[in-house]
């Protein structure tokens, strides 16, 4: 218990910009992650109309995916409310919002799992065609991001139950939040580019 320094900014070192190292790191990482998704989405865009064999985008169930996209969108709201609660000093409320965020993330993942199964049943697998390949790898890569986010959120919830997530640790929650929102905006792009825009 004595040494939980890195969970928050315990001591204020001198920095050139007056900003915290870790938050700059997070934004540099997100800039870098833009290129990860940029390359993956490029692959999908280049390949989206190449369906030489097997089913193609007609499998998409727009209403269904809209609902899961909406769940992820709303999880961004609960995430930012969690941060606001912690900054106000309300650790208990923050914990609840964090838990809600993690749950919504889990619902999204469950929805993605169900959707993948459905597609596989209908004959679209990772290996059927380059369309299946690029679709599953893109959305799966995003799903992996979501899963890591859920994991981090649950860690925060756990730390909070153990009494180790205090208002002074709001930066840690903010950093996880930045990651989480980023995962959300990537899905905004994927939802539009992959599902909504017809090929």
């Amino acid at each position: 218990m004595a040494h939980d320094a890195t969970m928050g900014q315990a001591e204020a070192h001198y920095t050139t910009t007056g900003l915290d190292h870790r938050k700059i790191l997070m934004w540099v990482f997100l800039a870098s992650d833009c290129l990860f998704f940029g390359a993956l989405i490029s692959t999908y865009m280049v390949y989206r109309s190449n369906v030489p064999v097997g089913p193609g985008p007609e499998l998409f169930d727009i209403p269904y995916t809209s609902v899961s996209a909406f769940v992820l969108l709303m999880s961004s709201l609960t995430m930012v409310l969690a941060l606001a609660a912690l900054q106000r000093g309300n650790s208990r409320q923050a914990r609840l919002w964090l838990l809600a965020t993690a749950l919504q993330g889990a619902v999204f993942l469950g929805g993605q799992f169900y959707e993948f199964n459905l597609f596989v049943d209908q004959g679209l697998t990772l290996t059927t065609s380059v369309f299946g390949t690029s679709f599953f790898v893109l959305t799966g890569f995003h799903g992996t991001h979501v899963a890591i986010g859920v994991f981090m959120l649950l860690t925060l919830v756990g730390a909070s139950y153990m009494g180790r997530l205090k208002p002074k640790h709001h930066l840690t929650v903010e950093l996880v939040g930045l990651y989480w929102h980023f995962v959300d905006i990537v899905w905004i792009v994927i939802f539009t580019v992959v599902y909504l825009i017809p090929s």
Partner: protein, 619 residues
């Protein structure tokens, strides 16, 4: 979780093997990078020498076609990813915090993690040598030669997994240095007062952070094709083999600047020091570096002029490529103007720096000849290109790195390298390099393609291939002498003192080697060449700083209690976890249970490492 962290007592030792395994001191990590990368530089050199041995005479049967393919693939991968990049990172680690007046990098433990992940990535990449199935499809690994049909051995698996792990290391290092340079500059050090080497480290780190993801995705896609039978690069099922080329070169061209910009930074430090004169046109040199880095993103398809992209893309990429010649030329002119009017001290680092200008200019000019897309169709994939890249990467990067080692060796070790041996090694390397790579221009122009394990006699290629091969001996002698010089000088070289070169930047303001906390008092910076202006206040900017910059040594006794973060086991544990995950798929292919075991162990180590890391106190 606190229990997990507590399983290991926080290490405290400052000597012995464990102190190296757990160190988070940027200077020790820099040394680890330097030694490891130099070792791989020698390995890459051996690979190259074997190739030259095979190509000394026509129709040679010394080395089989397949082994030769492994040699040229691994030579490029080793030199690029395991030698030049980490040698640059070694300088980032050693020099950047000292130049900007910081106690360490922003994330010391992350820095240690970068090193260990790099080491394990290097091991994975080289695993193939144990079974003589190293990657053999060229470092560019053009699809679809890399799929399981045409590359059935594990070679390409080592390539994919090794580069993924190495990429992780590069990304972590890049993030760390971006934050360090943004956020840990001494008071008063604005961006335009930042030393030029730090500037180039800054730009390079951005390039790494933005370019590595693209190749990572390419590698993930190639890995999926190989391990899970997907179709990214399977043209029969709708894939397109050119997509790999695009992803590779979108990364690959910024990568070229990742390799050369740190070298330019080193040279831009050496030239002013030994001319006893500031870098001419500092803001212009910085801006040229930025322009090169920015334009570097818009030229990738000049590697693909022969791919048949069509006249319009060819024209666009030829034009942007030409444009890069402008900031590059401006840099060269500014270096020349730095020399002009100086009081030039012809010490060994200066030899290497002047050699850099001479050789890099040749590489740049030959680059211009193949930016001309139509004539590049003749030169592409010939020895002319081999000559070009070696003038840029050996004549450029390696000359600068050797000069940089010579220049900062006194700071790192406290002792001088021998000038006498240093000049010998310079001339041997310089002559060997020109005699080996110079003739390749001609051999390429008379039609000899690269990546050929043999060539027929009587095509006009015999003589100059023999000359090139024999001249390798000069380089071996020169590099050998350099290594001997460094090893001997580290023990018994002349004691250097704080500032043996009468240099200009802050790293020379403290004792050699520096104390573990670097600066006893964080200096306040009032100008660009902070130390110089303090030593020669009457010249210009005559405003002696109120706080002595550095001056750590005389304050040694009072300040030895400056508290630095303790070493940590967790970077090494995390890196071992990443290593286990990195070889999971390889082991899975050998035997499924082995693969599962490695995966589980990897995840456990990674979780243990990261939770321990998070809950470990920072001090």
């Amino acid at each position: 979780m606190a229990m997990l962290g507590g399983l290991l007592e926080r290490p405290t030792g400052t000597t012995g093997i464990w102190s190296w395994l757990t160190t988070i001191d940027h200077k020790r990590i820099g040394t680890l990078y330097l030694v490891t990368a130099f070792f791989f530089f020698l390995v890459g050199g051996i690979e190259a020498s074997l190739m030259r041995l095979q190509l000394a005479v026509p129709d040679s049967t010394l080395i089989s076609a397949n082994i030769f393919s492994q040699l040229f693939t691994m030579h490029a991968l080793t030199m690029i990813f395991l030698a030049i990049m980490p040698l640059s990172v070694a300088f980032f680690n050693w020099i950047v915090p000292l130049q900007i007046g910081a106690r360490d990098v922003a994330f010391p433990r992350l820095n240690a993690l970068s090193y260990w992940v790099f080491l394990f990535g290097a091991i994975i990449l080289n695993l193939g040598w144990f079974t003589m199935t190293a990657p053999a499809a060229g470092w560019f690994a053009y699809a679809n030669l890399t799929n399981t049909t045409f590359s059935p051995t594990s070679g390409m698996d080592f390539y994919v997994l090794g580069l993924l792990v190495l990429g992780t290391s590069s990304l972590l290092g890049a993030f760390n240095f971006v934050v360090t340079i943004i956020n840990l500059r001494a008071p008063g050090m604005s961006l335009m007062r930042m030393p030029i080497f730090t500037w180039m480290a800054f730009i390079t780190s951005f390039l790494l952070a933005l370019a590595m993801p693209v190749i990572t995705i390419g590698l993930v896609e190639l890995g999926f094709d190989r391990f899970f039978g997907t179709n990214f690069f399977v043209f029969e099922r709708g894939g397109d083999v050119l997509l790999w080329q695009h992803l590779f070169w979108v990364f690959g061209h910024p990568e070229v600047y990742i390799l050369i910009l740190p070298a330019m930074g080193i040279v831009s430090e050496i030239l002013p020091t030994f001319s006893r004169k500031p870098l001419f046109g500092f803001p212009v040199v910085v801006f040229s570096g930025l322009t090169i880095a920015f334009l570097g993103w818009s030229v990738w398809a000049h590697h693909m002029f022969a791919a048949g992209l069509g006249p319009v893309p060819d024209a666009v990429f030829a034009t942007t490529t030409m444009a890069i010649a402008i900031p590059t030329g401006v840099k060269v002119f500014n270096w020349l103007a730095t020399l002009w009017g100086g009081n030039i001290q012809l010490k060994t680092p200066m030899y290497f720096a002047i050699g850099f200008i001479a050789l890099f200019t040749i590489g740049g000019l030959s680059g211009m000849t193949h930016a001309a897309a139509p004539s590049d169709l003749q030169q592409t994939d010939t020895y002319y290109i081999v000559a070009h890249i070696h003038y840029v990467l050996f004549g450029g990067s390696i000359m600068a790195i050797l000069g940089g080692i010579f220049y900062w060796f006194p700071k790192m070790s406290g002792r001088m390298m021998s000038e006498y041996l240093g000049k010998w090694s310079f001339w041997l390397v310089f002559i060997g390099m020109n005699m080996t790579f110079g003739p390749m221009h001609y051999v390429g122009l008379v039609g000899m393609p690269r990546r050929n394990f043999t060539f027929p006699s009587g095509m006009g290629w015999d003589l100059w291939n023999l000359v090139a091969s024999l001249s390798v001996l000069f380089m071996i002698a020169g590099v050998g002498l350099f290594v001997y010089n460094a090893l001997r000088s580290a023990r018994s070289g002349e004691v250097a003192g704080d500032d043996p070169w009468d240099a200009r930047t802050l790293e020379w303001a403290m004792s050699s080697p520096p104390p573990h906390y670097n600066f006893a008092e964080i200096p306040v910076v009032h100008g660009r060449d902070a130390l110089w202006e303090q030593k020669y206040p009457d010249e210009e900017h005559a405003a002696p700083p109120p706080v002595p910059a550095g001056g750590a040594h005389e304050a040694d006794e009072e300040h030895h209690d400056i508290h630095m973060p303790s070493p940590s086991y967790f970077p090494l544990i995390c890196a071992l976890g990443i290593f286990a995950l990195g070889i999971t798929l390889l082991l899975y292919q050998m035997a499924a249970p082995l693969g599962y075991a490695a995966g589980v162990i990897g995840i456990i180590l990674l979780l243990w490492g990261s939770y321990g890391w998070i809950f470990e106190p920072t001090d």
